[in-house]
């Protein structure tokens, strides 16, 4: 199946496309009527999940320092684990990325999007048999935002000033309007716990499709089906076992020998080998995560926009995607947003590798001598290789890049966001607003390009409260252009999430939200045989 048709098929499976639409689009993509009809049948059949069985997952990213407490979740392992037992108020839609109801049934903003009212679902039961109340919701949000909070979601919820129960509804008051508030509540840390989790944050009692049976940090977690789940469209297997496998080769061996049904973080360098195994299917999802080369706009020599432009034109993006991502990714355009985001700015010209333009801007900048780039393998997989590749393409434009390889331990505290030119990565954010607010707003802690632009800041805040989507889209376009043409960000590539399943499981949804089907993988897969 070619990519677009595979995509259509997955939308049929996810109930998002009907027969007529699917066949029409597939024929437009080059399929015959007969082939399209039979394919529709297959895709539609695939939507009948089989129940039962024991699902095993081999996951990178677990550590013996992991805890169940969702506030402290920071590893890939706990991210996927907490999705099994807990729910958030809001989820993001797998393909559109828009907010969809979960424990919150519906919501309504006031006129300037600064006060939001959420209706909480009735009749939902926690694993301990108690019923979900508005009280649990209020306390959970309090625990993540109070002055003693150690929560990873603290930064996201910074603008929430009031969390109240008004007549059984949740009312959130913000310090300034935010049209994206519901999506912020889909953050994976914000799992609703009984009593807010104040008593025992590590209890693992939630409203999710699976109950925690056993958890050994850094080793494995096991789950059994929650028979009282409030949803029927998830949690198809009887039991789940998640095993920490931090070695890439061990994960591949476990998958190809059929010991596990799913693995994450398939190394792009070896994905070709894994593909040859007859019982394995590679699951790639285009993501919002991106690998970056960042320059501090306020530090010499990078305070010169011509030098920044020269370095941007000296980047061969296509080759980067080909060599560093093994083709599993898309080229970037020097602003941190791609088409998976709602309100993606269209029609911005793709920046390409142009040694002549690079040489022109380099000469104009008046910079003399080499440019020092710091990198390390922890910056992103293949970062050192990418730096060397960049050095080669820049050389053709007459720019001499000197590479300094830094130790991985301590890279995030000593090099990233400290040194003026380094390699790094960003995971995606649920909204454009969040991405820009996290790393491009003048006052942001993580403004790792030292991008200070008051005009940009002003539009960002205006766009945040703007409920008219057309106007908002226009604003985001302006912001993207500012970052692209005057910022310190070189963004050669957006990396795909590369996972793999055995062929006897189905139900994997390409969820743009995050890796591993946005962490919901165990709740979405079922076993066919």
């Amino acid at each position: 199946m070619t990519d677009p048709i595979k995509h259509f098929a997955s939308r049929v499976t996810a109930h998002e496309m009907n027969r007529r639409e699917f066949i029409g689009r597939s024929m437009a993509a080059g399929l015959t009527l007969a082939a399209a009809t039979s394919l529709y049948g297959k895709a539609a059949m695939a939507q009948e999940p089989k129940r039962g069985g024991h699902l095993k997952l081999g996951l990178q990213g677990g550590s013996s320092t992991d805890v169940i407490d969702p506030a402290k979740s920071s590893s890939q392992f706990t991210f996927a684990m907490n999705r099994n037992w807990g729910d958030t108020l809001v989820e993001s839609h797998p393909t559109s990325g828009l907010a969809v109801p979960s424990l919150a049934e519906s919501w309504e903003p006031n006129a300037d999007a600064s006060v939001w009212t959420f209706k909480i679902r009735k009749g939902v039961e926690f694993h301990d048999g108690s019923e979900l109340t508005i009280d649990d919701v209020v306390k959970t949000l309090n625990r993540h935002t109070d002055e003693k909070s150690e929560s990873g979601a603290l930064g996201v919820l910074g603008s929430i000033k009031g969390i109240e129960n008004k007549g059984g509804d949740l009312v959130l008051t913000l310090s300034e309007g935010n049209a994206d508030l519901p999506l912020l509540l889909s953050d994976y840390h914000l799992v609703i716990q009984p009593g807010g989790g104040y008593d025992n944050p590590n209890a693992g009692i939630g409203t999710g499709p699976f109950k925690i049976d056993n958890f050994e940090a850094g080793v494995r977690a096991t789950f059994v089906k929650n028979e009282n789940d409030w949803r029927t469209d998830r949690g198809f297997v009887d039991s789940v076992e998640m095993i920490v496998m931090n070695d890439a080769t061990a994960r591949m061996a476990a998958l190809s020998s059929g010991q596990v049904h799913f693995i994450n973080r398939v190394d792009p360098k070896t994905v070709g080998l894994l593909k040859r195994a007859p019982n394995v299917e590679i699951q790639t999802t285009s993501g919002r995560g991106h690998y970056v080369f960042i320059m501090h706009c306020n530090t010499a020599p990078f305070d010169n926009n011509d030098l920044r432009l020269a370095l941007k034109y000296a980047m061969d993006r296509e080759t980067m995607v080909e060599k560093i991502l093994g083709g599993y990714g898309k080229v970037g355009n020097d602003f941190p947003i791609n088409e998976t985001y709602a309100l993606f700015p269209e029609g911005i010209e793709q920046r390409t590798y142009d040694p002549d333009k690079a040489a022109f801007h380099f000469k104009k900048s008046g910079h003399d001598g080499s440019v020092l780039l710091r990198t390390s393998d922890v910056a992103f997989p293949g970062a050192v290789d990418a730096a060397v590749l960049y050095q080669e393409t820049a050389k053709k434009a007459g720019i001499d890049i000197e590479i300094k390889r830094e130790p991985g331990d301590g890279y995030w505290s000593n090099v990233w966001n400290v040194q003026p030119f380094s390699t790094s990565y960003w995971g995606g954010r649920p909204t454009q607003d969040q991405m820009y607010s996290t790393a491009y707003l003048s006052s942001a802690d993580w403004n790792d390009t030292r991008f200070f632009n008051t005009h940009f800041d002003k539009i960002l805040l205006e766009a945040r409260a703007e409920l008219d989507q057309a106007k908002r889209k226009e604003m985001y376009r302006d912001m993207a252009l500012m970052v692209r043409d005057t910022g310190g960000l070189i963004l050669p590539m957006f990396n795909d999430f590369v996972n793999a399943t055995t062929t006897n499981v189905s139900g994997f949804v390409d969820d743009i939200g995050n890796d591993m089907s946005n962490g919901y993988v165990a709740t979405r897969l079922w076993i066919n045989s």
Binding site: G58, S63, S64, E150, S413
Partner: protein
């Protein structure tokens, strides 16, 4: 007596003549405590010297200044390093290793489980590899410079020359992926049956045996050969003793000291040095536990692991010395 120190010295000398072994063990134990203390200072200073503290590294890229401040205050990380060290030392002297900063659970509880797993794996690897190595060493001496000797040498040297993860991968590919006869991953957990556990550790045990075999085997061979060239072995041969009997009865007891030392080193390696094998086989042992703790600067866990590792080395080396002394009367009464 005028000089009290001279009295102590004399008493010690007398004790040493009557109970040489007990005095030696007591002295060694005393030194071990001192050594462990020095190790704890080194580890503490080392972890402090690493860039970033627990609050920063634990929260990683998603850290906000407020969350970092809250964690620091919670754990008292803002106090001076000496205060924190002596507080920790005070707890340890009373047998309390404290709680892990990351999980909040008592360190001793978590370590017991991981250490148990490590010892379980090391025990089986040792039970197979030590007799095998010594036996093969003797066989090699017997067939010295002939085909069996050459084969044993080449095979065991080849095994030791490959990195352990590579041996592990080869075993996985053949026995788990292609033939499908071995259990992989080797994860062991609570309430796992005894036979299941044994099946799970088959491949890592085989890997470890291959890794440690050559070292011990070659030391056995070298030690015996050096004894064999001595005069009393010639006498044994001249009085008509069979070659193999001469090796077992006369050569082996005299060669035991160097062999036991190498065995002790390898046993210590089996307990503390196998983190790579643990990762490759997804085995939850001490090594991975300590690496995880160092990554986030979880001091109480790093300290406890470090002390256990040091203690394992010290005890095994002491055991090796004792065995050597017991086996050789000349060492018991040093002049």
């Amino acid at each position: 007596m005028a000089n009290p120190l001279a009295g102590v010295r004399a008493a010690r000398h007398r004790l040493k003549e009557t109970h040489p072994l007990s005095v030696l063990i007591a002295e060694r134990l005393g030194l071990s405590v001192l050594l462990l203390w020095a190790v704890s200072v080194l580890i503490f200073a080392g972890v402090e010297a690493l860039p970033g503290d627990f609050a920063e590294t634990y929260l990683g890229q998603s850290a906000t200044p407020q969350a970092i401040a809250n964690i620091r205050e919670d754990l008292g990380l803002d106090r001076p390093i000496t205060t924190r060290y002596f507080e920790w030392l005070g707890g340890v002297v009373q047998g309390d290793f404290g709680n892990s900063w990351a999980s909040g659970a008592p360190v001793s509880e978590q370590i017991t489980k991981r250490l148990g797993n490590s010892l379980f794996l090391a025990f089986f690897a040792a039970v197979i590899s030590v007799p095998l190595a010594v036996g093969l060493g003797m066989v090699a001496v017997h067939y010295r410079n002939r085909i069996p000797d050459r084969v044993i040498n080449v095979v065991s040297l080849a095994a030791i020359s490959l990195p352990e993860f590579f041996i592990g991968y080869i075993l996985i590919v053949f026995f788990a992926v292609q033939m499908g006869v071995a259990t992989f991953p080797s994860t062991v957990y609570d309430n796992m049956g005894w036979s299941e556990r044994l099946a799970a550790i088959a491949l890592p045990t085989a890997t470890l045996v291959l890794v440690v075999l050559a070292h011990m085997m070659r030391m056995t061979r070298a030690a015996i050969i050096s004894v064999m060239s001595s005069a009393y072995m010639e006498t044994a041969e001249l009085k008509g003793l069979g070659a193999f009997k001469a090796i077992v009865k006369h050569a082996a007891p005299n060669a035991i000291a160097p062999i036991v030392n190498v065995v002790a080193l390898n046993l210590a390696y089996l307990v503390v040095g196998v983190v790579v094998v643990e990762v490759v086989f997804v085995y939850p042992g001490m090594g991975q536990y300590m690496v995880d703790a160092v990554t986030v600067r979880d001091m109480p866990v790093v300290q406890a692991c470090g002390l256990i590792f040091a203690a394992v080395y010290i005890l095994l080396n002491m055991a090796a010395d004792i065995v050597a002394i017991v086996a050789n009367p000349r060492l018991r009464h040093p002049r």
